[in-house]
Structure formats: structure tokens, C-alpha cells
Symmetry: C2
Subunit: 257 residues, 2 copies
């Protein structure tokens, strides 16, 4: 397969390199990633600044292209300008830290996969459920097994996979489940501080996940030591709400009167 690898932790991240090492033997691999860390950028693209592209070398050989933008920018420019032809698959990751629950919307890792889905290319985001001492090896193996399985899944156009892997050795992982995104709210906290010039500033300090998550969700599955695989898309329409609203539409025709 011709595979585009990207991420949001930046082109020098270890998680990206572990994918590169896993795939380069058996596949044609291209690395195009942000030149710097782009965490929590959501689905941002760069319109008001030019994008720069730099060749990056690693261990004396060509490794990939660093883009002065977001993960979505990296995918766009890779597919439109840098790669010789459309890739068969885009893999974004391996992210340091999980991308589950409503954090999925803040995730640059996931936005790269969604951007590929826009462009009609099969894609997955893959994240490891730890923030410290990561061993990306097992997740890289999982990524390859999944990559080989994706054609069999017959995913509809525009659907990509958001994969989260427990931080466990392969033999300790308790299987994998297809899941839905948990929608339980996070509790936000801001730390209010005073700078040396006596001015107030705030740090966003997220509370982490709430205690409970329903079975069948990404959060619950990951906590059970299983791999969570969520099929996601880029249509934010709430279909149930739309159905109900359509019944009240007559009232709204007068809005502009």
C-alpha cells in the first residue's frame, strides 16, 4: 500500500517514527507532518499565512516533509502537492495520549484523518492511552493489522476510524471493540495566576474524564484494556433533532416576516 503518515505531535515525535518503522518494510511510506507540536488545534487550517514545506532527514536518509501548519494542512498539501499520487491510506499518530469522548473534537490527530476522509481517502487516527513512558510498539503493530483489514470493512465514503490503544503489552490487551464516541461532558477548570508584572492570566486545566462512561463508548472500552475503534465522519448534523424540528417547520417560515 501507499501510505501517508502524519500526526499532531510534530514530525520529530516518537509515535510517528514508530509507525514509519512498522510500515516502511512492506509498504510505500510518505511522512508529511507539522514541523511543531499542534495539540488541541481541532480541525484548523491555515488561510492567513503561507505554508512552508521543509525536507527532513533522519539517520542520514530522507524521512519526510515538515509543514508549517496544522495536521489538516499537512494532509491537504501532501495529497495536493507533495505525493506522486493519492495514497491508499492515511494514518495519523501515534498520538501520545488518548483521543476519546468530546476531546475528539479538539484533536489534531483526528482532524488529519477526517481531512483525508474529506478527500475520499481511507484513514485512521491512532492514539496510545498514556502520557508518560510510552511504548509505541504494540500500537504500531495494531496499526498495521488494522491497515490491512480496512479494505474488508467496506466503510462508506467519508467514514474514517478513530483508534485508541491501551498502554499495555500486546498479550495483555483484552481484544478490540467497535465503539461510539462518549459524549459525557468534561469539567473545565481554569487556574488563575498572577504574572511577575502583577497581571492576571489563566491556564486551562482540564479535569480529565468524569468517572462514568457507558458501555459501548470509546472511554469505557479503553478502560477495560481493550482497543477502541470508532467509525467517525464530518457531518455534524444531529439527525434525530432534525426530524423533530422538521415537524415544527411551519412556525419558522414566518421568521423572516
Amino acid at each position: 500500500m501507499r501510505i501517508l503518515l502524519t500526526n499532531d505531535d510534530g514530525i520529530f515525535a516518537a509515535g510517528l517514527y514508530s509507525l514509519y518503522c512498522q510500515f516502511r518494510e512492506q509498504h510505500e511510506v510518505f511522512v508529511v507532518a507539522p514541523e511543531s507540536e499542534q495539540s488541541a488545534v481541532g480541525h484548523a487550517i491555515t488561510l492567513s499565512n503561507p505554508l512552508r514545506v521543509k525536507e527532513v532527514y533522519r539517520n542520514g536518509g530522507f524521512y519526510g516533509w515538515a509543514v508549517s501548519g496544522t495536521p489538516a494542512d499537512a494532509v491537504k498539501i501532501a495529497v495536493n502537492e507533495l505525493l506522486p499520487s493519492h495514497p491508499d491510506l492515511v494514518i495519523s499518530g501515534i498520538n501520545l495520549g488518548p483521543n476519546v469522548g468530546i476531546n475528539v473534537l479538539y484533536s489534531g490527530t483526528v482532524s488529519a484523518a477526517t481531512e483525508a476522509a474529506f478527500l475520499g481517502i481511507p484513514a485512521m487516527a491512532i492514539s496510545l492511552d498514556t502520557y508518560s513512558n510510552p511504548d509505541f510498539g504494540p500500537a504500531a503493530v495494531i496499526a498495521e493489522r488494522l491497515a490491512l483489514s480496512i479494505p474488508r470493512l467496506n466503510l462508506a465514503q467519508g467514514v474514517c476510524l478513530n483508534v485508541n490503544v491501551p498502554a499495555l503489552p500486546l498479550e495483555k490487551i483484552k481484544g478490540s471493540l467497535f465503539t461510539r464516541q462518549a459524549t459525557i461532558p468534561l469539567r473545565d477548570k481554569f487556574e488563575k495566576r498572577v504574572d511577575p508584572r502583577k497581571r492576571v492570566y489563566y491556564w486551562e486545566a482540564e479535569d480529565g474524564f468524569v468517572a462514568s462512561a457507558e458501555p459501548g463508548t470509546d472511554i469505557h472500552t479503553l478502560r477495560q484494556g481493550k482497543i477502541s475503534i470508532t467509525p467517525i465522519h464530518y457531518d455534524l448534523t444531529h439527525s434525530e433533532a432534525l426530524k423533530l424540528l422538521k415537524q415544527q417547520e411551519a412556525d419558522f417560515l414566518k421568521l423572516s416576516r
Copy 2:
């Protein structure tokens, strides 16, 4: 009503001010918005930098707070730190330019409404379908009519409205429809240029919308001169795909073996 106004064009934008003028007579209005333009930031939040908050005065009186971050940051910090209590409604806009189709995912305007929905607060994003010579007056009137109607709509928790208004005088607007987000792909283009130091750079140059959009979508409705109102949420799960994948799950239990 206690209403929080925000946007992604920045606190000094005319579209935001038009909402302020429309609502301040009959409602308790708070303005908390990014200090600078934040277009195409998607659902980004600021984790790696501190957030600064500045009081902004206009016409000799207090106008609101400027936040050194994204629209989602502005909503978070407004609700958690700046407002005396939870607002009854968050309105994000009026954006200069439409937010329809897959551009919804890039939209800072929409992300502010979605962030409010995370926090359990009714919310709408409102955008005007023009990039030049905007008259925000009609859209501000529509915003107020909709704001008064929202409680009647009985929207489920977590659902907010993405509203797009034609750039027409009120009497020329041909009604309003509840719609779904169009998912037709955009064609991306990059302009490749050379800087004065002979280095290559790229500008993202979007192609605009493709020619056709299905009836019932936001794009189609707006083109007919009608107001488009899409109920949106923050769950990216593709439910249909999940149902199909669940049937193949047994195969995937072996992923980690």
C-alpha cells in the same frame, strides 16, 4: 435572557457589534470574544499558552472582554470565570461569510456554539452569506427572533443551531428551513509561489463550493435565498457504519493476538 455573545472574527468585528445593539435593550448581554481574528481555527483550544483577558471599552462604556485565544477558549473562560452565572443562551457571530457544508468543521464561529453545547447551554452560530459590503441588520433581527424561539424547540441536551442567513433585506428573504449539513467535498487548490529569497511557499486557495448541493442541505437552502438552520452536535460517530461494523466484530477480536 442572559446572553453571551462571541465570535471568531474578533471582538472589534461589526457582526458582533450588530448582535450587541440588537440584544442589549431587552436582554442582559455579555460580550467575550477573541482579541484577534480566529477564522478557520476549527475547534481549537489553547493549552500550551496562558490566556489573557482584557476589558474592552466602546463609545465610552464597557463593552466586553477580549480573550487571547480561540472562540472555544472565549466560551470556556466566559462561563467558568467571567460571567456571574451561566448564560441562558450563547450566540456566536454574526460571521462575515457562510459556514455551510464541510467548512462547518473548520469554523471557529460554529466551534463556539458547540463548546457552549458541551457545557449544557443552548447556543447558536449565525453567519451572513457574503464576504463584502455586509449589512448585518437583517441577520441580527433574525438572531433575536430565533433566540426567543429556541426554548420552544425543545432541543436535546448538546444540540445547538448553525444558522446561515442570505445577504438580503428582510423582505427579500424567502423563509427559513431546518436543514442538514451538506457533505460534498471541496476541491482544494494550493498556489505555489516563490518568495524574494527564492524559497517556495504555498497559499491555501479554496475553490469555493462545488456546483451542486442536494435539496434539504444548508448550501442548497441558502442558495434559494432562505435561512438555513441546522441542528448540530459534537458526536462524530457514524452510527450507520457502527451498526455494520458491529456485525464484523468477531473478526476483530483477534487484532491484539
